[in-house]
Symmetry: C2
Subunit: 329 residues, 2 copies
């Protein structure tokens, strides 16, 4: 298999819920006006805690200086596993399950923290740029590694790169985090970028003006519902994660859904903000899922992590994760 190191140099940032209006101008430019910007990687995820933004340097420059923006202290690079001859096959197990053993577990074993972004199209594994030599060393046994340069995948001679760092001891992964599962169900979907302008006002409403809105059809958070909406526009591809109630606001037949039109339940990881330094969180979740062959999407945000699993698997997933946690404690 091939591992591609993409050329976007990414920043991960958090905007507090009431700080969003300061950034609406920049976000609209990055999301709706592609000809006005050189940004090629923008992701915006709303959770009850904040808005998490992942954006390349070109996009980051569009944001105003603001006390409201918390920025993780590193440049991140996105890794992408490409199966077979350069394009991923849709018959593969999807999401983080597919890469749990080959990527997530080895990185966790080497104490490398990762930030995950699953999309409709693929799964991005973000690692700190400064960890790249160790990442490449760790994954070179399993993968042919390419680095994308000016849009071209160039094979990496990793011997030269893996010199010059001290190989750390294998980490013991002991830390466990509380899990919870909101009651709403989610879909992972996409859209032809050509049709994005036709839903611009709706999408702006959902992304920028629906914060804290009590929706009578979905109930409040007391009913176990959670506010969670994720949008990404990466190299021209659009991806959404939204709950069933939000999906119903979109016109029929505009959003792509998988053939089964399946819905996903969420597992939230973290009782308090997870930070960026701890490694092994994604592994803690993805390994039991891989062992049980349960597909899963995985979205890290600034404060918490989120896995999406098929509705019918949610109980077994929660049980399996709790067993794993009990063993580690």
């Amino acid at each position: 298999m091939e591992l591609h190191i993409l050329e976007h140099r990414l920043r991960v940032a958090s905007i507090p819920k009431d700080g969003l209006p300061q950034f609406t101008h920049s976000l609209i430019k990055l999301i709706f006006l592609p000809t006005k910007t050189r940004c090629k990687f923008i992701s915006l995820t709303e959770t009850p805690e904040d808005y998490t933004i992942i954006v390349d340097e070109e996009g980051f420059r569009e944001f105003p200086e603001s006390d409201h923006l918390s920025v993780a202290d590193a440049v991140w690079l996105a890794l992408n596993v490409v199966s077979g001859g350069g394009s991923s096959s849709s018959s593969q197990p999807i999401g983080v399950t597919k890469i749990a053993k080959s990527v997530i577990a080895p990185l966790a074993d080497h104490n490398i923290s990762v930030f995950m972004l699953s999309t409709y199209q693929t799964d991005f594994i973000l690692v700190r740029e400064r960890d790249l030599p160790l990442v490449m060393h760790t994954l070179s046994a399993e993968f042919t590694i390419f680095r994308v340069v000016n849009g071209e995948a160039v094979s990496v001679d990793n011997l030269g790169i893996t010199n010059g760092f001290v190989k750390p001891k294998l980490a013991e992964r002991r830390i466990v985090h509380p899990l919870s599962s909101p009651s709403n169900m989610f879909c992972v979907t996409s859209l032809d970028p050509v049709t994005l302008p036709t839903i611009a006002t709706l999408l702006m409403d959902v992304m920028f003006y629906s914060n804290g809105v009590k929706d009578s059809t979905t109930g409040s958070e007391e009913s176990g519902h959670i506010r969670f909406f994720s949008f990404s526009l990466i190299e021209g591809y659009i991806s959404f994660v939204m709950d069933e109630q939000t999906q119903q606001r979109f016109p029929n037949n505009l959003l792509f859904t998988s053939a089964s039109g399946e819905l996903w339940k969420m597992v939230r990881i973290g009782g308090q903000p997870l930070g960026f330094d701890e490694s092994g969180i994604v592994a803690q979740i993805s390994e039991p899922l891989a062992a049980a062959d349960i597909p899963a999407y995985y979205i890290s945000t600034f404060k918490f992590d989120h896995a999406l699993v098929p509705e019918e698997n949610i109980n077994s997933v929660i049980n399996a994760l709790r067993v794993t946690q009990a063993e580690k404690q």
Copy 2:
């Protein structure tokens, strides 16, 4: 004829060119998400100097507190002349010419300053709320005056209201301001509000992201072109004033144009910011136009005034205005 005093309590404000991003969030809500706001009167006009906003109190509350917002120190009310039996006829002379003698001149004679906003649908004459008794006294000879209350036009017993003020001496209108005429041509147009979402991204681009863009087809301001774009959404009706080059960015057949598809030339009034206290500026322009029976739209902004006259009349208009100015000096 009837004069309607509308119930919107309006604020007139100015945003500097580089301050707009702070207000994009609020403006998008007011312009594109009508179900999210109780605002019924919003107008945004970009000139080379600034963005002028006219907005009702409900809309004004949406704006963040900001050093970047200059607000004229009064509440303004909009007057609207209704011809005949309640609906204006399109065969009438249009714009400020129609009301020059009956409204504009008498108000100027009584030293009442006005702020004009012509739209595709009608012409709003804004007066300060505190001037209303004098306005009603001044115009009661010519008009049956109605005040709109909860959407209903209620006849005004103006005897009670016109007591209690000192009738000022008739003002001599001596002040003259420099005139200029940009080389670009403008259209006054509208749109079915139902189709507004379909051009949301284009309209956002034009309104929020085209400031200072050098457009190779229009040339720079050195060529005599001016940046001028006006949008209003008033009681559900949309109106635009835009130049020919901007109009060409819109899809065919979406914008309403008058049967003749005519283009208008602009006369800009003011060598330096006009302020809000001087009366008679609109009269200075509209009276010669009315005398020559030349239709005109008129848009006041925070710093300058703008008249639009038919392309074929621009030279005679400029000449007529210069003669008038020479007589007054």
